[in-house]
Amino acid sequence: MALEAVIGLECHVQLRTRTKMFCGCRAAFGDEPNTAVCPVCLGLPGSLPRPNGAAVEAALRLGLALGCEVPAVSVFARKHYFYPDMPKNYQITQYDRPLCVGGALPAEVGGEERDFELARLHLEEDTGKSFHPERRGDRPVSRLDYNRAGVPLVEIVTKPVFRDPAECAAFLAALRRLVRWLGVSDGDMEKGQLRCDANVSLRPGGATALGVKTELKNLNTIHGVERGLRAEIGRQRALLEEGGEVEPATLLYDAGRGRLAVMRTKEEIHDYRYFPEPDLPALATGAAALERLRAALPELPWARAARLCAVHGLAAEDARVLCEQRELADYYEACAAGADPRTASHWVRTAVLAALRERGWTLEALAGRLAPARLAGLVARVAAGTLPGPLAKRAFAWMLEEPGGVDEVLARHGARVLDDLAALRALAREVLDEHAEVAAGVLAGRGRAVDFLLGQVVKRSGGQAAPGPARAALEAELARRAGRGGA
């Protein structure tokens, strides 16, 4: 009997706000321990939370981008469990009345874009961090850092819509892209700005009822999510195929060892005793404010990719690469405004991305050196066939270091472009003579070898032949020979 996996994800996104969710402490990463704390985020007696409007707005923007419904009123709730890194021994979150419900995130799996449906999105506060055990003399001690306590989090809960860990990985990559695209989070999983728990169960293929599920925690990289889920699916499959049963449990995935460890079994599963947070009034989301946020949303990555395909005529994969990062798509579009879009797309995806990789620059730094309009000048000449490829590449490298338009840079370096038709025809003749068999093939209708011959012309020109005129010269020379052969 074939078993099918059913997976749902709970993703936590740390919002990039200046201050924490319920107090004025800075929400920063990497400060000295316990320096970004106050009575509120330390949960000191008598302190009270007050909601951070910027965090609410960021969460709403994310919800709107995901196509969620936003109820007029949402309610904060307390979730209780004792843990030393949680100052109040309860977490302020949202329970039965979340900020947003429904929605979906499009993600590409195996070259195909699919919508993964969401159950809800809500706001909550982060916990502090425990460091343990350390040793003091002969005793183990734990240390607590509350800098992170109270940092705003958005929790996104999917419906159980995933059947394969690769889908989960794609979903997470799409989510990371979206939160960065909106600027609501840096989405860095290494820094815990994006975290993921997964619920997974197996059932016979075709069944509609869900099997017994386990929860996987500590999936801290996209790769880890995929591998952890594969390990757990394998474990459950082996159990079920031997006629055993899956026990409900919470498991920790140790990415280093690639192993699963039981964190809690069913008996230890918490009763969180949720109830509405009496220190915070219900959160009203006005229709006008919502419309204002909706109107201010940027074009979303999947919509933008679709537009680049439809309007710019880009291939789906190329558009996807450009829309991986909002700044990259912006850079591309600025460049494409002054040059052929497909050529611009090619140069941005290859030369620009390679430069970022090789030089370790941010896109912003690169754009500071090579504004997209300047690149457009280069791209336009390439598209017009008036600049040979090798020279265009050198020109690109020069333009990263020097000011001036493409012509100015070429002149400065004394780079000549050979576009004299007579000279090019002379070169073409030499090439045709040297590669007589290829030429004969072309003349016999095996047309593809023209590109090879053109390459030879460029090569023979020392990289100076402008591709457009060179092709014209080559074709003219071929036509002449065809005429002679036929006579």
Binding site: P39, L42, G43, L44, P45, G46, S47, L48, P49, R50, P51, R78, H80, F82, P84, P87, K88, N89, Y90, R139, S142, L144, D271, R273, Y274, F275, P278, D279, L280, P281
Partner: protein, 494 residues
């Protein structure tokens, strides 16, 4: 002016004496300590923490510029569950032994801004859970009118301190009657404002949706001045009521033309006859002053009592979860953190606090939440509607504060239900979020204070103060006996 008699002055007169330089702030704030406290404090035990140096520093802070401050140099007693920078804040619990808050509660900073000086943290039932101030880790407070009797609670220390003259004003907190009931038992005024009018920032939470900072005074005018100085929105408290607090400047404007509801069905049974006599006396004074009595029926408070104890214990179980020995306060044991937390809480919390945490934890448990907490919330909505219906027919309600005069120490300690019943008439105001005021009405034949409760709709504090003033001037104030005369402290008949 002789410094020895300063403590007898109303807060307003004392502040005026300080502002005009007739006495120094230090003389003003020391007057209660050097006067009546010497005779009373050891027996009554109203104070949990005090520090002459903090007092002197507070007085010095006012000395430079007393002008324009409504409470310049006025000593104020503050309940031990309100955070203060200069005195410990322990909620009279072993668990918070030695705890010093790193900030002032908003009401405390507003007190200081008005020129007042905190002269003591008052004794209370641990974490405000109790109605007799017998459940303090520092031992009970006694009623200055009869040392064998309780001062009421949980703000019993504040009530007793104002009654015997340590200070003309005190702050307490009222979750189900914890200001009004001790005020009634100690023969002073006790105001629980509309929910959200007094900032809760810095009030150690018992039940967040019910808690409200309240005021004790011996004079209605003092209550009005203190209310004006403290009430109003606080950006640190998301539940504070928006907009300026109602103007209580007209506290002495009389009650001519006002209608008061008279729900006599509430005291047909189960209420002490002398308490009812007190109500008749208060009603008579109001009528003599020109108010009109509107007989009406109010539902009995039994459903409200059940709802109250569910909501209050549920919220308390959550609010008190943070006291676990990890970050502050007392810590019992070390090593495993679970064991440390459990032992700290088992040893640090008293019996009543543990009882309520357990009740509340149960009420919020999976499978019981709907049955208990949600049902209680529905009952709460009903209580509010019942009061709204009553206020459609009158400006305020008159009724008992507690069903009996002050009871004896130990009388209800072993019977939690009997103790909870003493809140029957006061907790409705907390469930509904409306203001309530306890006003003294003479004494019983045994010489114990009697009182009446005035309840009004949201923001009716001005009306309640006017009504309390009419009751106050309508009769001779009872005199607290013992080793000094106190009549000079009481308002005289107009």
């Amino acid at each position: 002016m002789s410094a020895g008699g300063l403590w007898r002055l109303p807060a307003r007169a004392l502040a005026e004496a300080v502002r005009s330089g007739r006495c120094t702030p230090l003389e003003a704030v020391s007057s209660g300590w050097e006067g009546p406290a010497a005779a009373w404090e050891r027996d009554v035990h109203a104070v949990a923490h005090a520090d002459p140096e903090a007092r002197a520093a507070g007085a010095a802070a006012v000395a430079g510029h007393p002008e324009g401050r409504p409470l310049a140099g006025v000593p104020v007693v503050v309940k031990d569950n309100l955070c203060t920078l200069d005195l410990p804040t322990t909620c009279c619990s072993r668990l918070l032994a030695g705890y010093h808050a790193p900030y002032d509660a908003t009401v405390v900073s507003r007190l200081r801004a008005a020129g007042a000086v905190v002269v003591a943290k008052s004794n209370m039932d641990e974490f405000a859970m109790g109605s007799s101030t017998e459940r303090s880790c520092y031992g009970p407070t006694r009623n200055p009118w009869d040392l064998e009797r309780v001062p009421g609670g949980s703000s019993g220390g504040s009530a007793a301190a104002v009654a015997y003259g340590l200070a003309p004003l005190a702050l307490g907190s009222d979750t189900g009657g914890s200001v009004r009931q001790p005020a009634a038992f100690c023969g002073v005024l006790g105001l629980k404002p509309t929910y959200g009018r007094m900032s809760r920032y810095g009030l150690v939470a018992f039940a967040s949706s019910l808690d409200q900072v309240g005021l004790f005074a011996r004079h209605v005018g003092d209550l009005a001045v203190a209310y004006a100085a403290l009430a109003g929105p606080d950006p640190r408290d998301a539940t504070s009521r928006p907009g300026p607090a109602p103007d209580v400047g007209g506290w002495d404007a009389g009650v001519e033309g006002l209608a008061f509801g008279w729900p006599a069905n509430l005291w047909r049974e189960g209420v002490d006859a002398e308490v009812v006599e007190g109500l008749e006396e208060a009603a008579a004074r109001l009528e003599r002053a020109g108010a009109r009595r509107v007989p009406l029926e109010m539902p009995s408070g039994e459903a409200a009592l059940a709802a109250y104890y569910l909501v209050a214990t549920a919220e308390a179980s959550s609010n008190l979860a943070r006291f676990d020995g990890v970050r502050y306060g007392a810590r019992a044991g070390d090593g495993d953190v679970r064991a440390l937390q459990a032992r700290t809480r088992s040893e640090g919390f008293g019996e009543e606090v543990q009882r309520r945490i357990l009740l509340g934890t149960y009420a919020l448990s999976k499978g019981y939440y709907d049955e208990y907490y949600l049902t209680a919330q529905r009952a709460r909505t009903r209580v509010r509607r019942e009061h709204e219906a009553a206020f459609a027919r009158c400006d305020f309600l008159l009724g008992p504060v507690a069903p009996t005069p002050p009871f004896r120490l130990g009388e209800k300690l072993e019977d939690p239900l009997a103790m909870y019943l003493s809140d029957l008439f006061t907790l409705g105001a907390n469930l509904a979020g409306i203001p309530g005021l306890s006003v003294p009405v003479g004494t019983t034949r045994a010489g114990l204070p009697r009182a009446a409760q005035l309840l009004g709709p949201d923001d009716a504090e001005p009306v309640l103060l006017r009504a309390a003033r009419a009751v106050e001037v309508g009769g001779e104030r009872a005199r607290l006996g013992r080793t000094h005369e106190t009549e000079a402290a009481w308002p005289s008949k107009r």
